[in-house]
Symmetry: C2
Subunit: 242 residues, 2 copies
């Protein structure tokens, strides 16, 4: 039977390896889920794939597990980044969760001319990504970067990574993803209100930027993120079976 509990443990995973859950994890495993010696969980660390681990000692303050066997090798997502302008807290959390499920390799919050947020709890967003990976069966946790100005990021951008620019101003026009080349990409989603005229002019002039429309209705930023990630994964990513 497949263990019901699936946990991210930032420790090496190999046969016979002992695992020491931290206090929060021990509380979850042994107080909330009431696991006892002999019970099994699934563990992953983002690098070594997914493993079965067996409880050897149950204690709300610590306890121990031993790694038994690998159930899956690590599956890295395609080389796709998501750049987005943070919005309301709940929707920002949601974008990080969805980007993890959808297989983004890196998540980069950016400040744009129309971004409201000046500060962002990177550690909290990283924890959200980790939790989403636990839930979606992923063996990889995307890195959430610190908030940085879009202009600064673009100034030092490696042009070999192309940017798929979801441009709200293009609502109604259409640009298909068909025919785009595989390789490193980043998806750029704007804030509510879109990009400023100066940002639009700058993005339009960059040779590595491809604008795309997401249909005739205005999408919220969180919807646009999932929609753009879907189209990219189906056309260029790991949904293609290639």
């Amino acid at each position: 039977m497949t263990p019901k509990v699936r946990l991210h443990l930032d420790q090496p995973l190999a046969p016979g390896q002992l695992l020491a859950p931290d206090r929060d994890q021990a509380n979850y495993l042994f107080a909330v889920m009431r696991l006892a010696p002999g019970d099994r969980i699934l563990a992953f660390n983002g690098r070594d794939g997914e493993w079965v681990a067996e409880v050897t000692q149950a204690s709300k303050r610590g306890g121990a597990l031993i790694v038994v066997e690998q159930t899956r090798p690590v599956q890295l997502p395609p080389d796709l980044w998501l750049l987005f302008a943070p919005i309301k807290k709940a929707r920002t959390d949601f974008i990080v969760e969805k980007a993890t499920e959808m297989g983004a390799a890196r998540i980069l919050p950016v400040q744009t001319d129309f971004t409201n947020s000046e500060r962002l709890r990177q550690d909290r967003l990283q924890a959200h990504a980790l939790e989403a990976a636990e839930q979606c069966g992923g063996t990889y946790v995307p890195e959430v970067a610190d908030l940085q100005p879009l202009s600064k990021l673009l100034a030092s951008w490696d042009p070999s990574r192309r940017i798929l620019w979801c441009d709200e101003a293009r609502v109604g026009s259409v640009h298909s993803l068909k025919g785009l080349e595989r390789g490193p990409w980043a998806i750029l989603i704007g804030p509510e209100g879109g990009f400023s005229p100066a940002e639009q002019a700058k993005l339009a002039a960059l040779p590595f930027v491809t604008p795309v429309s997401l249909g005739p209705r205005i999408l919220r930023a969180d919807t646009a993120a999932v929609a753009a990630l879907s189209l990219w994964q189906a056309e260029l990513g790991d949904w293609t079976g290639a």
Copy 2:
């Protein structure tokens, strides 16, 4: 200047038509937004497109507006239904909101063998769809149906409407939407835990059902809904420019 307030008013919209907002709407327009005679809003009713209406009388208990001119004709979405098994309240609300933004024409909550929810507030979900249409600039509000058993719905299904079945059990396999025919479709999203073996066997045997995989990671139902709607809209719907 484009009016900032955009409101669904279930009244006929035509030049010179007088509009009487209900009490909640009057409170929003005249108390919250503090609109005064001469101020303008955008109004739509889901049938007659989008219109500019001007306040003629401001009162928290009622007030009146007069329809000035049309800004956009009604834009109906493609003939696409979304069938989904209701999940936790917040995520169910979210699915209705997203399906509206993504241009589903009808939203049908279904009971499956693994659905938790036995009751659903249809009126509350319909209000969510309406609010989402106000936000996303849509001129159409999808109908949210009452909760009904999937088995009953399938028993009387019109086979000319094909079903795109997002099958969690197929995670890892791939089925592209390329080559599918245009026409009436419905997208079917399962609950957490997917479909029961009996449901899977039944769906697999129906000639109008096409299974599809949404990549190698397990998606939450709300993510899967947006992903499937994106792929369908880009391949067969109103994102294609056709």
